[in-house]
């Protein structure tokens, strides 16, 4: 598996990304930047790059991170490790990705619980191959930010 047509984010999506719009305009948030890392095809590199992303976040002294993983399947190996590495470094997190109704995560851990939001909108269980159907929406992003704020407050107390 990987990034199907319904989940793929076009160049236009990046030009007007709802996640960035929402977080950058929130006056209770000091947005430090956007970290991008690629999902490799080797397991060892997946672990390396996702760990390095978490180390960046810790080095930036982030209180929290919203992590988005495009697509599903093997990409969730990197995603799960990033969730673990961020949490172990004291960075609160909310996650967004396509999970869908076709099964569970291919891999999970103790750091992926009520903090992960499924952005899948399809009613069926197979990839619908329709551009834009399972993209991030403003509502998905609002949910993620709400969860993140709760988690950051818990970490503080």
């Amino acid at each position: 598996m990987g990034v199907g047509p319904s989940a793929k984010e076009t160049s236009l999506h990046h030009f007007r990304d709802p996640l960035l719009d929402l977080i950058s305009s929130d006056e209770d948030i000091d947005l430090l930047g956007i970290i991008l890392f690629g999902s490799s095809d080797k397991y060892s590199e997946k672990i390396l790059t996702s760990t390095r992303a978490a180390i960046w976040a810790q080095g930036m002294r982030a209180d929290g991170a919203v992590i988005f993983c495009e697509g599903s399947g093997n990409n969730h190996v990197d995603f799960a490790n990033a969730c673990e590495q961020l949490s172990r470094r004291g960075v609160a997190l909310a996650g967004l990705t396509v999970i869908g109704k076709n099964g569970q995560f291919v891999v999970t851990n103790d750091y992926m619980n009520d903090n992960i939001i499924d952005v899948c909108k399809s009613k069926g269980t197979v990839e619908p191959c329709i551009i834009g159907e399972n993209n991030l929406s403003y509502d998905d992003c609002k949910k993620a930010l709400s969860i993140l704020k709760i988690k950051m407050n818990k970490n503080k107390s």
């Binding site: 598996m1 990987g2 990034v3 199907g4 047509p5 793929k8 076009t10 160049s11 236009l12 999506h13 990046h14 030009f15 990304d17 709802p18 960035l20 977080i23 950058s24 006056e27 209770d28 948030i29 000091d30 947005l31 430090l32 930047g33 956007i34 970290i35 991008l36 890392f37 690629g38 999902s39 095809d41 590199e45 790059t49 996702s50 390095r52 992303a53 960046w56 976040a57 930036m60 002294r61 209180d63 929290g64 991170a65 919203v66 992590i67 988005f68 495009e70 399947g73 990197d78 995603f79 990033a82 961020l86 990839e127 191959c129 329709i130 551009i131 834009g132 993209n135 929406s137 993140l148």
Partner: protein, 253 residues
Amino acid sequence: MADIDLGRLVIRAFDIKSVSWGDEMKVTPQGEMIISKSMLPDLVSSMDTIEAVDIRLIQPDEHDQWTNTILDIIPISTKALGVVGEGITHTLTGVCAMITAVDTEGKQCHEFGSSEGNLKEKIIFDNPGTPSSTDVIISFDVTLKAGMGQERKGPYQAHLLCDRFLQVYREQMKNFDGKLCSARNEFHNISRPGKKRVVIIREVAGQGAMYDMQLFPHEPSGVEGGRSIIDMGNMPILVTPNEYRDGILHSMQ
């Protein structure tokens, strides 16, 4: 503590009111765009994985038609001042580019599923990443040489061909009189000391053909001058909010 402004980006939008065929490639700040296929033969001959390309203008009431699998939807933007992420960007609204690709043997260029079929059923219009239902779509229908849809170079050259075509319009857009824009948006990278420090992390595609991400192009949402995240070892890269919203990423998945 007071907020700190770390940088400003201005995006001026020019609304395109008509897109039509003509003998020249021309766009005006008043909203007229003329498309010509005249440079396509030279573009095709400069790309060794591409057999042919056709352009279709898809008006808002013409969505009921066949499309090959959709590689990308691209805003048409250029830097009028500064580099991506700062200065002034000119962008067109009411029109966008779309790339589709298939090879000479009929194999669609895709990774995990393909979106060929009736266009009106293959796009959810009016999403952040999809055309507005009132947009004119400039569709680049690329025919790759046999098997090239599954090699990194094939889809890359399809994107590059489209980018080079659009650059002709971008060069004209750079000189648009800013006072004629139909909308002006100003974005600031704001630091809010004392507030919760948050980072956005995005895991993007990085495994090969149709599973790639191009970063740091010369033009917003462009290809030329960029580099692939695969070639950078998929290692984490930091970009500013204004770099991101100005199109420092070009989707290749």
